[in-house]
């Protein structure tokens, strides 16, 4: 039973529908909570208080207020914009982020689509985001949007290589692309997780993957595509209202995708850290989401710690540091698997 919904409802229309909508039910509250967390964490890291008034208790309703405001806003389409692409872009960006949720094993009993090429599918479908961003930047007919989109394309394409190589190292160890199998391979106590030295090179792999995934989510220090001090807002400069909200939601959805993939690949996914204790379908979802949230917290932490990269530094990091290290690493892991595995 990999998907309890299709198990009970059958894999017909209703089963598929409910199964595919379930991640959305998770993303909405997750995005609101993370938006609030980001506001509060960034504020406290700068010795500020952050939102304190909306909803009385530490501004807990601030993201709700923001979303409500965005819903009411006028949807502006620049007259010089390429309308079809302009309207399609935010949807495509969100679809790219959301489609990745299909292959994430939230719990032993829930994975949207238990396909053999799960992680490969996630990498492939995440590339849709690049396309969407490029469309948004090009169709806006705005120099900042275009510059932001070009930077995004360059950045995402560059960082997909170390990220994919890092994923490949884990796949070689497990011998499967299916993320449920990857989780199952790390069952038992937490020292069985791939980060903790079962395979010495996988810690480096995790670092490489994490850095590359930061770049793929367009977050600081890799936020040059939307560098607000240079490009206003980058590729979504011209967007307002709900279409802007879609980009925003896609960013947060994407953050969790990379965090969930990292926790599946390196932190045991839905496995409990304590072996058989506190494990099961519901605990599995709890563990995966809490592991993901810890990594999301580290993303936020890094964002408010580090300044933005310069474009050349960004390319240097990808091509001259991460890619060679990932290649050497994959060679070493391959050697390990051949000799010991």
């Amino acid at each position: 039973m990999h998907n309890f919904i299709t198990y009970y409802l059958g894999s017909g229309f209703w089963g598929s529908l409910v199964s595919s909508v379930l991640p959305l039910v998770y993303i909405m509250p997750y995005a609101l909570v993370t938006m609030w967390l980001e506001l509060k964490i960034s504020a406290h890291m700068q010795d500020r208080l952050g939102p304190m008034r909306t909803g009385k208790w530490h501004g807990w309703a601030q993201p709700l207020a923001d979303v409500t405001k965005l819903l009411q806003k006028e949807d502006i389409i620049p007259t010089a914009a390429d309308k079809v692409l302009y309207l399609l872009a935010p949807a495509l960006v969100f679809v790219g982020s959301y489609a990745a949720y299909a292959a994430i094993p939230f719990s032993p009993a829930y994975i949207g689509s238990d396909i053999n090429l799960g992680i490969f599918y996630i990498v492939a479908v995440s590339a849709l985001v690049v396309l969407g961003i490029l469309m948004a930047g090009w169709s806006s007919n705005n120099k900042w949007s275009l510059l932001g989109a070009m930077r995004t394309a360059a950045q995402l394409v560059s960082y997909e290589i170390p990220s994919s190589l890092a994923i490949l190292a884990v796949v070689m160890v497990v011998g499967s692309f299916n993320l449920n199998d990857v989780c199952a391979a790390q069952s038992g106590w937490f020292w069985n997780w791939f980060v903790f030295g079962k395979f010495p090179f996988l810690f480096i792999t995790f670092i490489i993957y994490f850095i590359a995934s930061l770049a793929e989510t367009n977050r600081a220090p890799f936020d040059i595509p939307e560098a607000e001090s240079e490009l206003v807002a980058g590729y979504h400069t011209e967007y307002s209202g709900m279409r802007f909200a879609f980009f925003y939601l896609a960013e947060y959805a994407n953050m969790f995708v990379v965090a969930a993939v990292a926790s599946v690949l390196f932190f045991g996914g839905w496995n409990s850290p304590f072996g058989a204790y506190l494990s099961g379908p519901v605990w599995g979802a709890f563990w995966l989401i809490s592991k993901g949230m810890v990594l999301v917290f580290i993303q936020i932490w890094l964002r408010w710690t580090l300044p933005r990269f310069r474009v050349d530094q960004l390319m240097y990091l990808s091509w001259k540091i991460l890619t060679p290290f990932a290649l050497i690493n994959i060679f070493a892991v391959g050697l390990w698997v051949v000799l010991r595995g």
Binding site: H44, M45, D47, R48, L49, T305, L306
Partner: protein, 249 residues
């Protein structure tokens, strides 16, 4: 070799400095915020902070020195002389108040909060308060009036002062005329012969006299004139006050 060393050293330094940075931000995540919830909590205002001005009109003598000192001309003062019968009291610094301040406006839309108006004040009646929240929806509301007189009082005081001034001017003119007459009389008297003198002199002076005589007689006539023209009350006092003047001429 050195470039290889530098490459790995860069990577090591990169990781090390990121960890240092993360340590710092983590430390700050748990330090209490330095900001305050402004409308609920306020920072204490510095003792010599320059905020909104206040004028204590009980002490103002209308000397206009603050308005003169103001670099942006945001203070406008108008005064009216008080009548000698009116006692305006003393300031707390022991100065006698002589002027009705009929207008004392400070336009805080213009005010640059430099505080230059404060030191010149002889009675220390204009000073900075700790009020700094006084925004308005209409700019004209920022023009503060500090006078204690009611609009009606202002009108009467101004009228009264004008009347007194007119009177004084009239008296001065009369005095000047008298002085001229006296001068003429003197010049007529001193030079050669008496018959000429009698001819030029006004009627009351015909009896002729020593040098002082002509001075006193025009004075009395002037007094009578004033009494006729001037309106009721304050006039006799004005005369009393100005009594010495013609004599001094």
């Amino acid at each position: 070799m050195s470039s290889v060393y530098r490459y790995f050293r860069n990577i090591g330094m990169g990781f090390w400095t990121i960890l240092i940075g993360m340590k710092i931000t983590m430390k700050h995540l748990f330090t209490p915020a330095v900001t305050i919830q402004y409308p609920d909590a306020r920072m204490p205002i510095p003792e010599r902070g320059r905020n909104r001005l206040y004028v204590n009109m009980d002490d103002c003598i209308g000397c206009n020195q603050c308005a003169m000192a103001c670099p942006v001309d945001c203070i406008s003062i108008e005064t009216a002389k008080s009548l000698p019968t009116e006692d305006l009291g003393m300031t707390s610094t022991g100065q006698k108040k002589r002027l009705w301040v009929t207008k004392f406006d400070i336009d805080f839309a213009k005010c640059c909060y430099c505080g230059l108006c404060v030191p010149p004040c002889p009675t220390e009646c204009i000073y900075m308060t700790d009020v700094y929240e006084f925004s308005e929806y209409d700019r004209s509301n920022l023009n503060y009036s500090f006078i204690t007189l009611s609009p009606d009082e202002v009108v009467t005081k101004v009228e009264q002062a004008k009347a007194a001034e007119r009177e004084a001017a009239a008296r001065k003119a009369a005095a000047a005329a008298a002085a001229a007459a006296q001068k003429a009389a003197q010049t007529a008297q001193n030079p050669p012969s008496a018959p000429v003198q009698t001819a030029t002199k006004p009627a009351p002076a015909t009896q002729a006299a020593p040098v002082t005589q002509p001075v006193s007689s025009p004075e009395t006539t002037e007094k009578k004139e004033v009494e006729k023209t001037g309106s009721s009350e304050g006039k006799p006092q004005v005369d009393k006050q100005d009594e010495g003047k013609p004599g001094n001429v």
